[in-house]
Assembly symmetry: C3
Homo-oligomer: 267 residues x 3
């Protein structure tokens, strides 16, 4: 039994599509023309979709994936540049990121990621907030924070070392290297790699296996797992936000954003 | 030089057999007719055996194993069912589990596990309290909490993510899947897999290697290692106990126990 | 562009040689006649070199290695023996170790280790304070604390379990076994193994890659990563120091030091 719907807050085009199947809600990021980069609208829609899934007793497990061959390009750099230059900047834009972080930190049902393609920045760091991560064999992950002149975000400064070990976390965060699917599995940030065409099916099957257990017990287990790391994550977010406020708009950050604006590339 | 004895609190049959050899105490669970499941008596005897080993200066290291082809089936589900239905329930039964947890959390000498067969529930989660775990190549491990409608226990909600990484811990705790010996090693909950007939010998050899070092230094190292995780474990136990009190006897839990009572199987 | 210099506090022979190249400072331990064991002078010089690198805006990343085929033999056991017997003991000697720990805990730029040979004691535990560790394929690591009758040091009681997992940390700390290069990588305490003759070159290349990013962002990332573990490390150091004070000079420790004084070997 499949139900499809769109969580559109208004008549505007929806950027998140959801489908329910056997107590599993599939949430698809649908901004393929920007490789599912998070602008303010996508932040708000995904936050709303998570809150709705948490509140709906018919949803036991959520699967998150991207449309159009990308998982997510992370923070929309045009919006970041607008924040820095003040041109066309939305003073509310930073709330989008914080709201999604709040939604992820409050989400107490199992969250499965099906990483269907490139994940950059938040498209990588969000995986540290997911319980079970399946990656397509051709997916690649990267955080460009250092080259962008900004600090780590989304609590990755604490969660990447915990998930991947200090050595790999330091390499990923400090060099900005690309991480392939098998490397993500070896590092412990993903559970296993799947052929691209089987990815969402395998993620749904895993989610349904969990969704078949009594939901109160499943939710209690997820809550108990989160409880230990919650204060670490909260403290890391505060430190990261303070460091971000300090470095956003620095000479190095502005130069990197200009370069991106001109070439569409960071380096 | 080998000394064998039984820590019997009374004239009743002893469920734990101990043997001393070169400053290593081998502790064997001996309730093979119930696959070494923990009923109140076994909880009390193992707790007592650990306390005795901690207090005995001639014991430097303890090795824990099971008899009769199983390591441990975990909590005796007949006793859990009696707690739920109130039939033949021993109001003191819950103290058995808590007492064993207290004994494990206080045990400040190296604890080696030789997992000689199936470990289910506490028979799996107890391994996160052991320092060095050797598993027989044909051993299998599983926690059936979710399907039983109960939360994680024995501080596994914090120790499984720490020992195995979030991804594998989430898979184990949320799906209830079977984990093989090599997978347990790859996950980091076990040090290595051994042929079944060499298992206890290898565990004893490893224990004797440690027992040959100055015991005060060995004990200091174990205490220092425990100190960081002790408050995390204590907090997790409290949260888990509260969640357990809430879910024990729920409709889902009662149905699972009934099914087990009728079929001898959980699923 | 390469600049070489020696951080000599006085006219005495310098035990640390530094070379700058593309915003990377290479720091070489130069006490090869004692396999780069840490006596008071080397503790002070390395602490000073780290403080100088932290303060110098032209240095973005530091690479640490040893000269003469060893990485470091750790604490100079002749100085430890002098502390125990009181013969020729320098009452200030313990400050050397603490000062180096303080310098490592305060060092907020990326620290890369090129482990060019044997690392024993602090020559192993110091790696848990490095962000990226490359090991020569023939390097070997070991902590002889248990056999020496002393507790774990340099916060290894907390950092070894975090870096290597509990099982491997317990084996390393409790048995004192030798760990080979590939095993160090598998355990997660090192990033990768390199042919000995390529080691420093690869470490420098990795460091330069990081040093090419905006240094304020790089430093912010390192600081954010350290922030979570800093209180754990500080608490572990206090506990370890207290345990060390208790066990230093014990009968077992004195006997081990005497054996070492007579044979040049611990076991």
């Amino acid at each position: 039994m499949t139900q499809e719907r769109r969580d559109a807050p208004s008549a505007a085009r929806s950027l998140v599509r959801t489908t329910d199947e056997d107590a599993v809600r599939l949430v698809v990021l649908e901004r393929p023309e920007a490789r599912n980069a998070f602008d303010k609208a996508l932040y708000l829609e995904l936050s709303g979709a998570l809150a709705a899934a948490a509140a709906d007793p018919a949803v036991h497990v959520v699967v998150l994936t991207g449309s159009g061959g990308s998982f997510s390009a992370g923070q929309d750099l045009k919006e970041m540049a607008a924040l820095v230059t003040g041109e066309n900047a939305d003073p509310e834009a930073a709330k989008g990121f914080r709201g999604l972080m709040d939604a992820l930190c409050a989400f107490d049902k199992p969250l499965v990621a099906a990483v269907n393609g490139v994940g950059v920045g938040l498209g990588f760091t969000i995986l540290a907030h997911c319980d079970l991560v399946l990656v397509a064999e051709d997916a690649r992950l990267k955080v460009p924070f250092a080259e962008l002149g900004v600090p780590a975000e989304a609590a990755s400064s604490v969660l990447f070392p915990i998930r991947m070990g200090w050595q790999r976390a330091a390499e990923v965060l400090l060099t900005g290297k690309w991480v392939g699917a098998q490397e993500a599995v070896d590092a412990g940030i993903a559970l296993r790699a799947c052929p691209a065409d089987a990815l969402v099916g395998e993620a749904m099957a895993l989610a349904k296996q969990i969704a078949g257990h009594p939901p109160d017990a499943v939710r209690a287990i997820k809550r108990l797992m989160m409880a230990t790391q919650a204060p670490l994550v909260a403290a890391a977010r505060e430190r990261e936000d303070a460091a971000f406020a300090e470095l956003l708009g620095s000479a190095a950050n502005s130069a990197a954003l200009d370069r991106f604006g001109e070439t569409g590339r960071l380096s």
